[in-house]
Symmetry: C2
Subunit: 426 residues, 2 copies
Amino acid sequence: MTSVVKTQALKEMAAACRKASRQVARLSSAKKDALLHGIAEQLESDEVSILAANAEDVSQARTAGLSGAMVDRLVLTPERLKGICAAVQEIADLPDPVGQMVRMWRRPNGIEVGQRRIPLGVIAMIYESRPNVTVDAAVLCLKAGNGIVLRGGSEAFHSNTALAASLHAALEAQGLPVAAVSLVPTTDRAAIGELLTLEEHIDLVIPRGGEGLIRYVAANSRIPVIKHYKGVCHLYVDETADLDVAVRLLLDGKASRPGVCNALETLLVHRGAVAWFLPAAAGALKARGVEIRGCEITRQVVPEALPATEGDYAAEFLDLIISVKVVEDMDAAIAHIDAFGSNHTEVIATEHLGNARRFQDSVDSSVVMVNASSRFSDGGELGLGAEIGISTTRLHAYGPMGLEALTTLKFVVTGEGQVRHPIQPE
Amino acid sequence: MTSVVKTQALKEMAAACRKASRQVARLSSAKKDALLHGIAEQLESDEVSILAANAEDVSQARTAGLSGAMVDRLVLTPERLKGICAAVQEIADLPDPVGQMVRMWRRPNGIEVGQRRIPLGVIAMIYESRPNVTVDAAVLCLKAGNGIVLRGGSEAFHSNTALAASLHAALEAQGLPVAAVSLVPTTDRAAIGELLTLEEHIDLVIPRGGEGLIRYVAANSRIPVIKHYKGVCHLYVDETADLDVAVRLLLDGKASRPGVCNALETLLVHRGAVAWFLPAAAGALKARGVEIRGCEITRQVVPEALPATEGDYAAEFLDLIISVKVVEDMDAAIAHIDAFGSNHTEVIATEHLGNARRFQDSVDSSVVMVNASSRFSDGGELGLGAEIGISTTRLHAYGPMGLEALTTLKFVVTGEGQVRHPIQPE
């Protein structure tokens, strides 16, 4: 299992997944929901074997000296498995995006043209550690009528194999081909490179994990990749902001969960807000244990702030650290975001309607918020029901990706014999 | 000009285009329309220099021994240039896709979430011969608020340079940066390879031309590519078809313009339609000079038909040749399309509602038609206003691509201080 998988074997796996995906694509909503409920039940009844496989991964990770945080991300408990099953049931209950006719019109010649939502095809997911992604990603892809090729992290190999066995049992119970969910049966990193050449069988690659993995996938894939490298999210406090709102957004964005991609990394403050906002902000941050790295003006107002380097403004700290910069006006804030942002999520705090509109118009990021926390930049929180990832690639999907991002639109045309250049048949 | 352009120069060109694209993205609809009308006027007033540059290309092409058909595609005449200008005016008159709020909803916590259409960014167009593509592509990209990098065929280098000069003059007249339309200033093929690595500055590559060029771009690009290799379009005549409709669709699809990608290449006939349809179809095709390559049953009914090989069913003839196959039933027709189709356009002729629905549901291609000619598979004919290309890539756009395919959606969120984990500020 751990030896090099030959290109041929991977190719056959992907081809089988393509074939199986055609069957999944044609399932009714009811059948897909029955499959998802079946998956949740199967995972519950396979609890013992899943937790045993996970224990093996965890013990190997400890032996290999992985950090406590990394081991924690790997661990499955009965409660975490219940959480995974609950998420599957929730996805089953979401509306089916497939078959939706997003619009329809009639041409002057009488033909009726519509665009109908159909599954994307086969999606490859390349990810690290957390075993819940295995189930989440598979279930989202199935719900949207797709096949999925999974390539999880080597640390979670036994867990993923056990989870995939449950998924396969549930597929079989519904008379569906197990190849619809294909797990790459090796931890060999070379398999990723091979996978990325199979453009004939795979329509989309979604990498999730560290920036290194994502850059490797983006640089080596022949298949379209949807990704985000990092989230350098900004809060811009305008001179027209409400003090309470601005402080609230700052604390929620920076301190509620600093290790996630929609946490704030940089605070931009309008020169006119410095006097009444910065001292309150600094006090609140200090009380939460947040380190401040600021520009010169910031350091005049907040003496304990460390000096910010250019690198600090580009950094995704993922920690209780924030960079702060005082800007001349909103245009300077927007220019800073253009230069240092990552197209993820930016927030303005303002009570001025015109400024709110201009910020939302001018900032290029995938999610642009007015008076709302950057931490809402998440598929579930925005109301997409679930999330398979976040895209800062502008093509196909931009921002949090829900079920719809796993579909595409085909044209359906109906007429009664219309032709473009009428010619008389013999 | 014809020497190797250094990577650095191309990179700077793309970076300048990215910067200029931000300005184009923020233009009002009225400003963009004024720019487009200005382009049409500029092209008209530059007629002499454009035709002179084109004459140089044409004379070089003749000296190089290019075929008459290829030279014809290259030639610009006063009439053709007028046609190009008219197309620009038509694109100016299309509705602006940018800024459209495609949907909006409110979450239980009161935040309002919307998805707004924004420009894609920078699009690179890599294409062969026809100089009209230079203007068409540039104008469509500008109308959708994008920057464009153009890399045309070497045979049209002088024409493209002259056309780009007009585009630049029109941009300057509106006070806009000429880098918004950047022409790669070399015919060196290596420049294509360099261009395809500039993922930081270019969001999308659209190749148009022969299959060789397209495969080269797809295999070497780090930037997402939207493409179609070929159009192997099918007409399936069901046993429930109307004879007149079926013959009309066949003749329009095959004989009205055989050299285009939405022409028919294969006719599939239900066993139950053979007796009453095939003789009439063969007669009509013969009268139009179409060569028939058929399966055994076809050849029993149409003695002059040549035997069809497996290769004939995969071929895009682009000529007055059609492959014909008799199938057991609709499922066999769908299986044939799955195996030999190119995901471009397929047509069913049927009077049976259930069969029409099942064909449209089951066929995976980007355009699936009932009782309408495959020749309508075109952005203009389907009502998209104009077309920048056709995609058989399922990601982002599938089928004919109009202005909307040159945009993406960003999330805009508005609240009044909502946070995800309320914590009291100090």
